[in-house]
Amino acid sequence: MTFVKVKMALQKIAPAGKLGVRLKEDALKNVISSLKTEGHAVTSVSREDGIFLLEVTKGGG
């Protein structure tokens, strides 16, 4: 479900556009592996109070 939300958000931005994603630890594997599989790149990762903040570049994989 989490990745579906990310995918829908990516559909609304232009190629090479950036998307910020806030994730709990337990969703990291599925979301990042699915993003990589679909040709996107996670261009930065930071952490804030146990939440992972990803910057995703659409089609950047």
Binding site: E25, I32, S44, V45, S46, R47
Partner: protein, 289 residues
């Protein structure tokens, strides 16, 4: 029927039922795979020689129950053209179980049916001190419960860390289910391979490519069983990278059991006597793995 005759029948997969004169006939199935011709033959055999039903066993096998003793030979003959043989029981290497492996399952790391077929050809029905079960799981999701087998295999991905592309984002350590990844004082990452369960989650989750695949292949677990006194098999050797290496390791394990096992003693109990180290030392010696 005397006990000696029954023992022979049982070895050939014919098991006496509670009801006198009836047998449940175990069939030879490898990794739970049957083609439709074989399924039709089993269906017809169950109608003709049994009571129109089959039993699916806990280890992916098929049995035809309610077969009269005087029909056992005819049943064997009837099934033969379809390539369905009768199974085994008693102190032999039993049905080799397997998942569908990497050719079918997206999680699969190894070709489980291929290894199961090779193990079946090499070991099935061969005599051992006590029943010996082999199971092949294509990945660490472990659908075939490798640790419940006397010799269990799991598909395995061993990671390695490369400093170059790594951004030290911490994702690999966060996703690792056994917390095998740690950051050292010099900022490098370490993977504790004793804790690593070979799932590859760190690799598929790594955004930068810093966590990579060192090798993939087969991991061997020895001495597991369920039954009255369950015991989980233990991991021996490192990652075996080819089917041939996996087969050589299983062969050496079986030889060790034949050399050290006692009649009616499961392999796990043998290993409690000899120690797992003795098995691992011997297998390494024999195979060079």
């Amino acid at each position: 029927m005397n006990e000696a005759d029954y023992k022979e029948l049982k070895k050939g997969g014919m098991m006496r039922q509670a009801e006198a004169g009836l047998f449940s006939v175990r069939l030879h199935v490898v990794g739970g795979r049957l083609d439709t011709t074989q399924l039709r033959a089993i269906h017809d055999a169950a109608d003709r020689f049994g009571r129109g039903e089959v039993h699916l066993t806990s280890r992916q096998g098929v049995e035809i129950p309610n077969v009269r003793q005087d029909s056992l030979s005819a049943l064997k003959e009837f099934l033969s053209p379809s390539g369905v043989g009768v199974g085994v029981c008693g102190p032999t290497v039993r049905t080799v179980t397997a998942c569908q492996g990497c050719r079918v399952c997206p999680s699969g790391v190894i070709d489980s049916p291929e290894l199961a077929d090779a193990a079946d050809r090499a070991f099935y029905g061969k005599p051992v001190p006590h029943k010996f079960k082999i199971g092949v799981s294509g990945c660490v999701n472990n659908c075939m419960k490798a640790e419940e087998n006397d010799a269990g295999i799991k598909g395995w991905i061993e990671p390695r860390w490369e400093r170059g592309p790594c951004t030290l984002c911490g994702v690999c350590a966060a996703v690792c289910p056994t917390k095998a990844i740690a950051t050292a004082e010099d900022g490098s990452l370490t993977v504790d391979l004793d804790l690593c369960i070979g799932c590859g989650d760190c690799i598929v989750s790594c955004p930068s490519g810093g966590m990579r695949e060192a090798r993939r292949g087969y991991r061997l677990f020895a001495g597991g069983k369920f039954g009255r006194k369950p015991f989980l098999g233990k991991r021996i050797l490192g990652v075996l990278t080819t089917k041939e290496e996996a087969m050589a390791a299983i062969t050496a394990v079986l030889e060790f059991f034949r050399a050290h096992g006692k009649p009616r003693e499961r392999f796990g109990d043998t290993l409690e006597r000899t120690g797992f180290d003795a098995l691992e030392r011997r297998v390494k010696e024999v195979t060079g793995l």
